[in-house]
């Protein structure tokens, strides 16, 4: 074989997985799009009690925003501490490794932990709040890792210059490092949200019920969610899959929305950070 033909063969082989991914993606869209027929603006905005899915959509968004609201600040502070303050040593390395491992824990196990700890021991019951805390456990490692990376990308010269002007370490970090890392930090929070937007197992035992009367009014109320609804309809009620394609499609779009938002944010902010180019 001449080297030119070899090149072509190898590039073709390398391209196959990408084509396969695209095909699968379009196939999913194609299958789900058959659910479009069952959707209408009316169904999206009508209460479950009257045959719509309104509470499920809002419940899913409630879960997401609340979890991000808790995991965001905790994760950011933890990451700042780990990068800027934690003494490098065995303990810090262990914590670092523990965070990595947390990201790898199956969500059903996290859900089980949530049920035992948040719902029962803390007495939150099956509630929105318990769901937030459980999802927080899943978002945290993503936010911590993402924030750490974002902070490490900020040139140390910014912090050094601030310190040389006579600022305290915290002031140098809060006025230089964190604002410069903010784009990466925000992106990591949105990525964390995208990661759990379609999460089922973690909210299965901790926060969801099939039907509620209206939206939850306090964090102690249970909530409805699209993913949970799919699960129950297929497994417990034995409905044919085609009947829930519409709901699956809505959930799919919510996940895609957050994933796309993360990408758009990253591209937008990269343009404004000349030191990253």
């Amino acid at each position: 074989m001449t080297s030119r033909i070899k090149e072509k063969v190898f590039f073709t082989i390398l391209g196959i997985p990408m084509v396969a991914c695209l095909l699968v993606f379009f196939w999913i869209v194609f299958v789900l799009s058959s659910g479009i027929g069952t959707l209408s603006w009316n169904i999206l905005t009508t209460s479950v009690l009257k045959g719509g899915i309104f509470e499920m959509i809002i419940g899913t968004i409630y879960l997401l925003l609340g979890a991000a609201g808790i995991a965001g600040p905790i994760g950011i502070l933890a990451a700042v501490y780990l990068v800027e303050y934690a003494p490098s040593g065995k303990l810090t390395r262990t914590i670092d490794q523990a965070i990595n491992n947390l990201a790898g824990v199956p969500s059903i196990v996290i859900g089980l932990f949530g049920l035992t700890f948040f719902c029962k021991q803390l007495g939150l019951g099956i509630s929105l709040g318990a769901g937030w805390l459980t999802l927080t456990l899943m978002i945290l490692p993503i936010v911590i890792r993402g924030t750490e990376e974002a902070i490490k990308l900020v040139p140390t010269s910014f912090k050094e210059a601030a310190l040389a002007l006579g600022t305290t370490k915290w002031k140098a970090i809060s006025s230089m490092t964190i604002p410069s890392a903010a784009p990466g930090i925000i992106t990591s929070v949105v990525l964390g949200m995208a990661r759990v937007a379609g999460e089922t197992a973690a909210i299965l035992f901790t926060s969801c019920v099939l039907v509620t009367r209206g939206l939850p009014t306090t964090p102690l109320d249970p909530v409805m969610a699209l993913a949970y609804n799919l699960f129950v309809k297929i497994v417990a009620l034995g409905e044919p899959p085609e009947k829930v394609f519409g709901i699956a499609l809505v959930l799919f779009f919510i996940v895609i929305f957050f994933a796309t938002a993360a990408i758009v944010l990253r591209i937008y902010y990269r343009r404004r950070q000349p030191w990253l180019r």
């Binding site: 490098s88 040139p155 010269s157 910014f158 050094e160 210059a161 601030a162 310190l163 040389a164 002007l165 006579g166 600022t167 305290t168 370490k169 002031k171 006025s175 230089m176 604002p179 410069s180 950070q273 000349p274 030191w275």
Partner: protein
């Protein structure tokens, strides 16, 4: 205006003994060049004067440095006030990712030296002192990154001057700049030397000769020779200095 009196200064990074028993006095309102080959401890030396070495883990310092008669390594010394009094300009221009105005205003705001209208005045005065005002007065709100390398370095000088320091440390401030920008900064250093105690690190012999009143020659962490720049270049006392300035090593 402040004299810097160094007594038996030693600095280690972990096991590496970088500065060995330095003792000499840097004169006020003059430009003193610290020269020597790479790795001789020049940068570590000037970073010792505003205690910037201690932000690096594993560093250890012994000895004393007196500024205005006060030992900056005394445990009662306020390191933030010290760093206000001792400005620093780094090797690579490192403006903050903020506007030109905010870069200069940052220090005065932190130290609450001024507020409101007074800040505007300090910014203007500092930029004028750094010979940058005419070039940027119409675009103070532009990003500092929109400036050229030489302008960025003058902005960093203005930022250091804005907190009203007495001593200005410069760590090879021209090494990342082209000849034209270097010439501007050198002229500026000469001017600053009349009002501030300027200590500049350089491994460029011609630069030391051009800009400084006094020169200290460091070699592997030790002070080899220190004195009037003209004398040191024309009649070096030490053989090592002579070899260095004639280019036998470096």
């Amino acid at each position: 205006m402040a004299e810097v009196d160094i007594k038996k200064l030693n600095v280690w990074f972990k096991d590496n003994h970088v500065l060995k028993d330095l003792s000499f006095t840097i004169k006020e309102n003059a430009v003193t060049a610290i020269m020597g080959p790479s790795g001789c401890g020049k940068t570590t030396f000037i970073r010792a004067i505003d205690r910037m070495n201690e932000i690096i883990s594993g560093s250890r310092t012994t000895g004393e440095i007196y500024i205005d008669g006060i030992n900056i390594y005394d445990e009662n010394t306020n390191v933030y006030e010290l760093r206000r009094k001792v400005g620093m300009v780094f090797q690579k221009p490192n403006p903050f990712p903020k506007s030109i105005f905010e870069n200069v205003a940052f220090g005065p705001k932190i130290h609450k030296i001024a507020n409101g209208k007074e800040i505007d005045k300090i910014v203007e005065k500092s930029l004028k002192e750094a010979a940058l005002w005419e070039e940027v007065k119409d675009r103070l709100n532009d990003s500092a990154f929109s400036l050229s390398g030489g302008q960025q370095q003058r902005l960093c000088i203005a930022r250091a001057l804005a907190v009203e320091p007495e001593i200005v440390l410069m760590d090879e401030p021209c090494s990342a700049l082209d000849p034209a920008a270097t010439a501007k900064i050198e002229a500026l250093i000469r001017e600053l030397g009349e009002k501030y105690t300027v200590i500049i690190v350089t491994h460029n012999l011609q630069q030391a000769a051009r800009v400084s009143d006094f020169t200290a020659f460091l070699y592997v962490g030790k002070l080899v020779e220190y004195g009037d720049t003209k004398n040191l270049f024309e009649n070096p006392k030490s053989e090592l200095t002579e070899k260095y300035i004639t280019g036998e090593f470096g």
